[in-house]
Amino acid sequence: MLLRLLGRVAAAAAVVLGVVLLTFLLLHLAPGDPAVHLAGPGASAAQLAAVRHTLGLDQPLPLQVLAWLGRAATGDWGTSLATGRPVATMLGEAWPWTAALVLLSLGLSYLFGIGLALLQAQGSARRDTILSVVSVALFAVPAYWLAVVLVWVFSWRLGWLPAFGGAGVDADFLPAGARAVDLLRHLALPLVTLTLIGVGGAARFVRGSLFDARREPFLVAARARGLSGRRLLLRHLLRNALGPVVTLLGLSLPALFSGTVFVEGVFAWPGVGRVLLLGVQARDYPVVMAAALVSAVLVVLGTLLADVLRAWLDPRVRHA
């Protein structure tokens, strides 16, 4: 078990390192010279060389990567070209917003998704078909469009919720209670967007897993012992069906993160996705580099966590 875990941690570290190398390579291969960007079109050859030297761009690529990794390890992630702020500070502020949004929506998605799938597993074939169509439709909705529609309904038509941001302009001057309400009101629309889409995917996974488990011999045995109803459904069917779902949960994290990037963009939610989007649009290399790294770390950590959870839940996996 410990050996397996160590292997998984090593693989996760390799993925993160791979992201760094790939990002470096892409930045290096991309057309356009960051030195020209920085120094301006009128810069002389000597000025360009000086800029390249200060940025370390005159070094061979492998040395640049090593230097960046060395600095990143000590917490120096460079300065944003667009805002002039330290990149580490920008991302340090941003990651809790993304982690909170992703974890909350993941939890809610699976809560409602499991409920929906249970309704499908024990009802009529007709109910199953209708709910299947609903979950496929939810699964198919693009995050950025659902976000726009929800803003139209709840911010423009009804005027109930704020359309963007993580806090109101007056948030700093509010008492603690009112501030929490303000935060929740800002959280509502991004969370609902991600959760609605997530419910579609979760319900599809769990339903498939439930229907697979229904064909297993242990369920036939349980039925033969005279079990039925809620006890059969929850104790025997659901518990066994959730194992594969935990693995899928880990595998669906990259996709969930993709949705988060778009949702953060639409709602101006101050998370890693938004930092990445703004950085990409401004060609802010140090920010893009670090945001790509942080998002890779978040995704890889989540997948690792799902793996450990699976082994903890299922002795067959633990001792395999």
Partner: protein, 281 residues
């Protein structure tokens, strides 16, 4: 493979019908659009006309007009061309790479196969959208770039699937027979395995097309894909977002079209998968 049993599946029929309808509209776009998707008349008189309204020149606008007075229906059917073409081409690239990587890894099981599958697992763990954003932002935006980027980031799950199938097929009698007759591994891979692999690949492709179309629209929505004034669903949603208050239909129509397309692909993929697994439920 698409035999009659599959066509008895309602999901398969619905999915095929929807996709055929959308493809028909996209192919016949110049005929069914009824207007030039980029045409702008007297902007002040023709902008933000509601759906089903007639313009000042008596022209009927099924889905209304946008802020430049352009016909939303015409832009929608022309945008379908971009979306479907991008989706199909990107998936074709992904299927090509996935098929080759998976088959080669399944036939040459030594270090080569292990290396290929390790690379696949690595690529599968990368957050796709981060790569997409990087690639699309660093190179000048164009439709060709989007197709390439989506194809190059979408092959991994297909390679995994093909690998699993190929390993299974290698133990089947017809492959053993071919081997004992002295077939080389290259011939084995492309004459004997690949034809048997088309079925699972079709499932992955059906699901992949929907995914690619959503991502293409997402990139165009961010301004990193198809460039305006060319009509694309993602670009339409982005420009409709700014005019939600007075003209919500501009953003709603392309979004619904996207949902319908992805639902069609998903239904078809689900039906195919159950059909191949032998237990349609």
């Amino acid at each position: 493979m698409p035999d009659s049993a599959l066509l008895h599946d309602r999901r398969a029929r619905a999915g095929l019908l929807l996709l055929a309808g959308l493809t028909g509209l996209a192919l016949l776009a110049p005929l069914v659009a009824g207007a030039d998707p980029a045409a702008q008349g007297d902007v002040v008189a023709t902008r933000f006309l509601a759906p089903l309204a007639h313009g000042p020149d008596g022209h009927f606008h099924l889905l209304g007009t946008d802020r430049f007075g352009r016909d939303v229906w015409a832009r929608l059917v022309h945008g379908a061309r971009v979306s479907l073409l991008t989706g199909f081409l990107a998936t074709a690239i992904a299927v090509g790479i996935g098929l080759v990587v998976g088959t080669v890894a399944g036939v040459w099981r030594g270090p080569l196969g292990r290396g290929l599958m390790a690379a696949t697992d690595f690529a599968l763990a990368l957050p796709r959208v981060v790569l997409l954003l990087l690639l699309a932002a660093l190179w000048p935006p164009s439709g060709v770039l989007v197709v390439l980027v989506l194809g190059l980031t979408g092959w991994m799950s297909i390679a995994r699937l093909v690998y699993g199938e190929a390993v299974g097929l290698m133990a089947r009698p017809f492959v053993l027979a071919a081997r004992s007759l002295g077939a080389r591994r290259l011939r084995l891979a492309f004459r004997h395995l690949v034809p048997s692999l088309w079925t699972p690949v079709t499932v992955a492709a059906a699901l992949g097309v929907g995914n690619a179309i959503t991502l293409e629209a997402g990139l165009s929505y961010l301004g990193l894909g198809v460039q305006p004034p060319a009509p694309s669903w993602g670009g339409m949603i982005a420009s409709g977002r700014d005019t939600l208050v007075n003209a919500p239909w501009v953003a709603l129509a392309p979004g619904l079209a996207l949902v319908l397309t992805v639902v069609a692909c998903t239904l078809l993929g689900d039906a195919l998968r159950d059909h191949l697994a032998g237990h349609p439920d």
